[in-house]
Amino acid sequence: MQPGYYIVLAALLFTIGAVGVLIRRNAIVLFMCIELMLNASNLALVTFGRINGTLDGQIMAFFVMVVAAAEVVVGLAIIMSIFRTRRSASVDDANLLRY
């Protein structure tokens, strides 16, 4: 089967994630969209690894997973602390800093 389709899928997922970041309001959903982008990249990495016949892509994918998990922890901590002080997880409410 053509590995190229996986690349198409990865690009689609990445784009969906990027668009999601633009249109979703809830910080956690927004963050999930970013995770989607990372996972789309993982898919692309693994597929390219397969096409190229090297392991680098898979190793990179492992590390991306780890880093994504660490990001989740840090991100959730920040979002939680904001939620507790503002009672809102909408990113549009975090709007004191501008101009």
């Binding site: 053509q2 590995p3 190229g4 690349i7 198409v8 690009a11 689609l12 990445f14 784009t15 969906i16 990027a18 668009v19 633009l22 249109i23 096409i51 492992f62 997973m65 780890v66 998990a69 660490a70 989740v72 922890v73 959730l76 901590a77 939680m80 507790r84 009672r87």
Partner: protein, 121 residues
């Protein structure tokens, strides 16, 4: 296979992103912005709902904390599993590396434990 097959991907990416830019931009420009009090209120009757009791500050944060801790320890397996599979090939070097890795996770564990992250109450 030919890599020119990816050209449509990039186009797709561009198209989708352009669509997003367009729709977000247009809705900002043409969308009516007449916020009023009634519109901003929650679509519910009765008293104003509040996520938490007033003056409280109680917040079911434990699940979230546990979830975060779970993630931290869960990551270990990503590195442990490949190491275990090719244990023989990696030899002593791999063993020491893995000990160091677990050691660093333990340091984090010690921190969580001492700072009360594991207390459930």
């Amino acid at each position: 296979m030919s890599l020119s097959a990816y050209v449509p991907i990039l186009f797709l990416f561009a198209l989708a992103a352009a669509f997003a830019l367009f729709s977000v931009g247009v809705s900002q420009i043409v969308g009516p912005k007449r916020a009023n009090r009634a519109k901003l209120e929650a679509y519910e009757c009765g008293i104003e709902p509040s996520p938490e009791p007033v003056g409280g500050g109680r917040f079911p944060v434990r699940f979230f904390l546990v979830a975060m801790l779970f993630i931290v320890f869960d990551i270990e397996i990503i590195f442990l599993y490949p190491w275990a599979v090719s244990f023989n090939a990696l030899g002593l070097f791999g063993f020491v590396e893995m000990l160091l890795f677990i050691g660093t996770v333990l340091i984090a564990y010690a921190y969580v434990w001492r700072r009360g992250g594991l207390d459930w109450d």
